[in-house]
Amino acid sequence: MTETQHHGPIVVLSGGLSHERDVSLRSGRRVAQALRDQGREVIESDLNAGLVELIGGLTDPVVFPLLHGGVGEDGGLQQVLKLLDVAYVGSTPAAARRSFNKAIAGPLVAQAGIATPKAVALPHDMFRELGAAALVAAIGERLGFPLMVKPARSGSALGCTVVHSAAELPAAMVGAYSYGDVAVVEEFISGTEVAVGVVVLDGEPAALPAVEIRPQSGVYDYTARYTAGETRFIVPAEVSDEIAAACASLAITAHQVLGLGTLSRADIIVRPDGEPVFLEVNSSPGMTETSLFPQAVEAAGTDFGVLCAALVDAAWAAHQR
């Protein structure tokens, strides 16, 4: 690792204008501190009009984006960083775009033979043009209840609703469309909720221990995610070695199928029969004090700061090639 160590400034990017700005700011602060603890030079910045000038004025910078949602995760920022020819931690613009859009990522992962929920992605215009009543009825018939309704491009469970009957579906759709123009309606999968982080440092993806999520309220919503004490986390998950291996394999396959870069986190439900079902993948996973990825890193016996620094070094080394 030493010969490829990056010695320049690291720009930790957080904030932005997405609905997850607050989460992003917390992720950014945590990663920035972890990198400073490793003796790295860190500049923290919001995603704003001064960013291009800031990066342009630095010698050999590496950008570490901790933006969740919006242009930080949909490939837009990555496109700009490519254009500026600057090293950054994360995925290519195309991979970020693929993984962020649940309507695209799900089918791609399913094509690789991974179990995914039956789902349909619908722009709100579709309901207006075809008539909501007929479509809502068709969704109910095709997928059955309960259903999960979520925005196609959002995170942190924002805009997500579990729907138990056709009568609840319209309101849930409107709730999801408050976050974007496309909503995904999928069959609700019950089982053990786990998340598996993937890191790629030496060319080969490695799965971190699965984190099992047991929200006190029963629902892993925004409050359960970001209020310490509201959710019980078990790392590694209390599943058999066989299931744990299947989850790890699923996360790595999803990472590879979507062409993701040096890190990702797959969200998985393990059915009562032991089959893991892929829900979604995050190319810029949360790094807050209550986030899953850092817990998995620490459970693996790796210092979080050491891993962040290694991700920076990997990005720097890749940029040199």
């Binding site: 974007g180 221990p209 078990i234």
Partner: protein, 438 residues
């Protein structure tokens, strides 16, 4: 980098999760609060917060004045002080209160860390868990938070365009006490109420004071905005009508600057004694340097003239908001017309839910405070509070334009999905639209 075999860890990420006091439960991160993080970005027109605009204060002269204060009186100004507050501060406070016909002795004033702390101290000395506090429906979100912290039960009393309805107040007191509830006090904001902007008429004030006296109900009068009247003269305070049964809370946060964190409580003698002891237990003393600074400001600057300047500035912003609302709000929307203060209370067309709509608004770069924040019982889903105090008139106009588009889009979405206009989107049957008081 190789990853070693892990050992299992079972955690809720909070070692003290089973140790907290019961009143701490419910202190949680919320998605709505998180959305406000976006509102702080300059691209967003925030009509959500209640920050006063203090950019026009004479900062250069204030700087020189503070410089002299530190050099000449810094040894006292940076020392511990009296729990009740410094005498010179309390004397100045009585001068300020006289502007609203409140005549009081400095001995009956307790200086606090903003009027928010006065509210906290009053609640602390009067409320046991389960006690009832009556408040306007809707009421100030910061007060509801304090009441919740002391495990009070807040019961809202209906209001109309003239404030709390006296008969509703009477019925609430009688029925609650008949049910065995301990009704401790009425919390009210008579002037330019937060969040509605409604001001109690003189007749209404007299009636409220009379009902409270008749039923031996203490009144907590919170009056942070009283001097910021935009039409006519300040109204007489409730305290001016009944010195024995009203605890009056005041603040310099809106008439000067909130950063000094100086407010006060004016209370009958026995209550004042307890407030002082409670203050000493909480902080030893209110901020001494801030008391010196504010007293210096009151002595050396034309503070009355500054309030007139504030009024002119806020009037232009209120007028911009009312003009923007008239131009851009879809049919079916109504709103209040405040004669002062910072806020307009909007009632949305039927079927809309301001909290559910907030993400759409934030995407459109405009923010507001959903009405449910101002109720302890889940009402207010059809309402929103708009603040005109901080953005410029041009930004306020732009904000109302964006808001109009957001509401129209949400209405269109509801029409598409055939959502019943008479039904709120909350799943809880006890929630729904609040009364239209505009």
């Amino acid at each position: 980098m190789s990853l070693p075999e892990p050992s299992r860890r079972d955690t809720r990420l909070d070692h003290y999760v089973d140790t907290y006091a019961e009143r701490t439960h419910g202190l949680q991160v919320s998605a709505v609060r998180a959305l406000f993080a976006v509102a702080n970005r300059p691209e967003v027109v925030s009509l959500a917060g209640g920050m006063p605009n203090i950019a026009d204060l004479p900062r250069v002269e204030l700087g020189a004045s503070m410089d002299r204060l530190i050099q000449e009186r810094g040894v006292q100004a940076m020392q511990y002080g009296a729990g009740q507050g410094e005498l010179f501060m309390r004397e100045h406070i009585t001068e300020v209160m006289a502007e609203e016909q409140v005549h009081a002795h400095p001995d009956d004033v307790v200086v606090t860390c903003g009027s928010q702390q006065a509210l906290d101290l009053v609640t602390r000395i009067f409320i046991d868990p389960g006690d009832v506090i009556l408040a306007e429906g809707p009421s100030y979100v910061g007060a509801l938070g304090t009441f919740h912290a002391y495990q009070a039960q807040v019961v809202h009393v209906g209001m109309d365009a003239e404030g709390i309805e006296p008969e509703a107040l009477r019925q609430a007191v009688v029925s609650l006490r008949a049910a065995g509830k301990r009704v401790k006090f009425l919390y009210t904001i008579p002037n330019f109420q937060n969040p509605t902007g409604v001001t109690q008429s003189i007749q209404r004030r007299q009636a409220i004071v009379a009902v409270a006296k008749e039923h031996d109900l203490l009144i907590i009068e919170d009056n942070p905005y009283g001097l910021l009247t935009l039409e006519g003269q300040p109204m007489p305070a409730l305290r001016s009508m009944d010195a024995d049964n009203v605890i009056y809370l005041g603040s310099f946060s809106k008439t000067f600057a909130p950063g000094f964190r100086i407010g006060w409580a004016l209370a009958p003698h026995a209550v004042r004694e307890k407030l002082t002891l409670a203050q000493e237990a909480a902080t030893l003393a209110p901020p001494v340097f801030s008391q010196f600074a504010i007293s210096t400001y009151l002595e050396e600057f034309d503070w009355r003239g500054q309030i007139v300047a504030f009024r002119d500035m806020y009037r232009a912003r209120r007028d911009a908001m009312l003009a923007g609302l008239a131009e851009h709000m879809p049919e079916g929307s109504t709103w209040t017309t405040p004669n002062g203060g910072f806020f307009v209370w909007v009632t949305l067309p039927e079927g809309l839910d301001s909290q559910a709509m907030l993400p759409r608004a934030v995407s459109a770069r405009v923010a507001y405070t959903p009405g449910t924040a101002f109720y302890a019982d889940g009402l207010g889903s059809r309402n929103m509070r708009l603040s005109f105090c901080f953005p410029t008139p041009e930004r306020i106009l732009e904000g109302t334009r964006r808001l109009g588009e957001v509401i129209s889009a949400e209405l269109e979405m509801n029409r598409t999905f055939g959502i019943d206009p008479g039904a709120a989107r909350h799943h809880d049957l006890h929630t729904g639209p609040a009364p239209d008081i505009s």
